[in-house]
């Protein structure tokens, strides 16, 4: 039972972590495909 709960927490941690990493390295479609003239965040 403990292994199951730890695994579920790990699913959440890996998900949040991977999202942070992908955002950091600029792998969102916005960063990959928008040209310098596009200001999506403004």
């Amino acid at each position: 039972m403990k292994a199951m709960l730890v695994a579920f927490v790990a699913v959440a941690a890996i998900s949040v972590g991977s999202n942070l990493i992908l955002m950091q390295i600029g792998f969102s479609s916005q960063d990959r495909y928008a040209g310098p003239d596009v200001r999506l965040d403004d």
């Binding site: 292994a3 695994a7 890996i14 040209g35």
Partner: protein, 398 residues
């Protein structure tokens, strides 16, 4: 299974291509080789039209009229030539945004994809899951719970270590999240929006997308863990043949001998590994749009090896628009996922309500010795022999 899936998908997608090739070339002399009213009407009726007669007619700059002559300013390509180049993806386009999709202004795979996605894929996929649940319910009412036949001993044998159970639940937890959010994404427009409305579904869709995209990494990691930890125990063994011939003893008294994993569990394992890998690869292709294109290359290989013609699909298209690569990846991702979901529903059933004593293997990791003797007799003998050898080895030599 995988070959049948490939055949199904390709048959659905390429019926139109095969038909187009069978038809005799129509007479277009009345229009000077341009498309005829019959071409236009056929397209409007949704029939396949081979555009090969006009897709290459995009002008010739080398034979352009002089700049001061009539049409000279167009540089050898008339306006229809330019539109054909845009329509068939051969125009030289530069765009201020990046990526291959930015310079593909027109692609016509989208309608096919949309109709397959919200038609056969969603309908047959949905029925597959419902039918699996119905069959399992029927099986439960006919066969009932598979009980431990013999007297329980009270002794426990460790079946899965903590790290093995962690890997299993990492895979299981992520798979269920991915399955549910995938179904929400697929059935959103047709089923959920009419019921909940756009505002509520918008919230659900944004959340589902975040979960689906990010939980995928836990699934892929767990898939690698499971493969590394259990592949040795899932290699074929001669006892598997006997087990399969007796149908795992599911309808008879007593169970055929089995090692740590019986043939049924091995089938589940390899389904998870093969289909899970296929889902992961197509998922990665969708996660990083236009970066990983697999279908044009796969179709080229199927053509080269003669598999496509052997399946009666004719020549598959070897040049696909970037969007079409994504469309095929999405269809493949959904179809294979439906098959794996159906298999996993059966796995969840047999691991919980379907069989007494089975859940302990993944719950505490320790199983009742009598359960183990009935379902995995060869494995129990191996474990006992190891224990005896260990206890002998522990006796200090005098």
């Amino acid at each position: 299974m995988l070959r049948a899936l490939i055949a199904l998908m390709l048959t659905l997608s390429f019926l139109s291509t095969a038909n187009a090739q069978d038809a005799a070339a129509p007479d277009r002399s009345a229009t000077g080789g341009a498309q005829t009213l019959e071409d236009i009407m056929a397209r409007q009726r949704g029939e396949p039209v081979d555009n090969g007669f006009r897709s290459g007619l995009t002008g010739d700059p080398d034979s352009a009229a002089g700049i001061s002559e009539q049409l000279g300013t167009l540089g050898g390509a008339s306006d229809p030539d330019l539109w054909r180049a845009l329509r068939f993806g051969s125009a030289d386009i530069s765009a201020s945004n990046n990526g291959p999709a930015a310079t593909t202004l027109i692609q016509d795979g989208g309608m096919n994809w949309l109709q397959l996605r919200e038609g056969p894929v969603a309908i047959y996929g949905g029925y597959l899951l419902l039918a699996t649940i119905a069959l399992l319910a029927l099986f439960f009412f006919v066969r009932g719970r598979i009980r431990i036949d013999g007297e329980k001993t009270g002794n426990k044998i460790t079946r899965f270590k903590a790290v093995e159970r962690f890997g299993h639940w990492l895979l299981a937890g992520s798979f269920i999240l991915l399955g549910v959010t995938g179904l929400i994404s697929l059935f959103g427009r047709k089923v959920l929006i009419p019921v909940f409305g756009h505002d509520a579904f918008s919230f659900l869709a944004v959340g589902s997308k975040w979960i689906h995209n990010n939980v995928s990494w836990a699934f892929m990691l767990a898939l690698v863990m499971i493969f590394v930890m259990w592949v040795v125990h899932n290699l074929p063994h001669k006892s598997d043949i006997n087990w399969l011939l007796k149908g795992g003893g599911i309808f008879s008294k007593g169970h055929p001998p089995a090692k740590k994993f019986n043939a049924g569990q091995k089938l589940i394992f390899w389904s998870v590994i093969v289909l899970g890998t296929s889902i992961s690869v197509s998922g990665l292709s969708l996660l990083f749009p236009f970066e990983i294109n697999m279908f044009a290359a796969t179709f080229a290989k199927l053509n080269a090896l003669g598999i496509s013609s052997a399946l009666g699909l004719g020549e598959l298209r070897e040049v696909l628009a970037p969007h079409e690569e994504m469309q095929y990846a999405q269809l493949w991702h959904a179809i294979v996922s439906f098959v794996l979901m159906a298999i996993i529903l059966a796995h969840i059933y047999i691991g919980t309500v379907g069989m007494e004593g089975a859940y302990d293997a993944m719950g505490s990791g320790d199983v009742e010795e009598q359960w183990a003797r009935e379902h995995h007799s060869i494995w129990v003998d191996e474990v006992m022999a190891e224990k005896q050898a260990a206890s002998k080895g522990a006796t200090p030599a005098e």
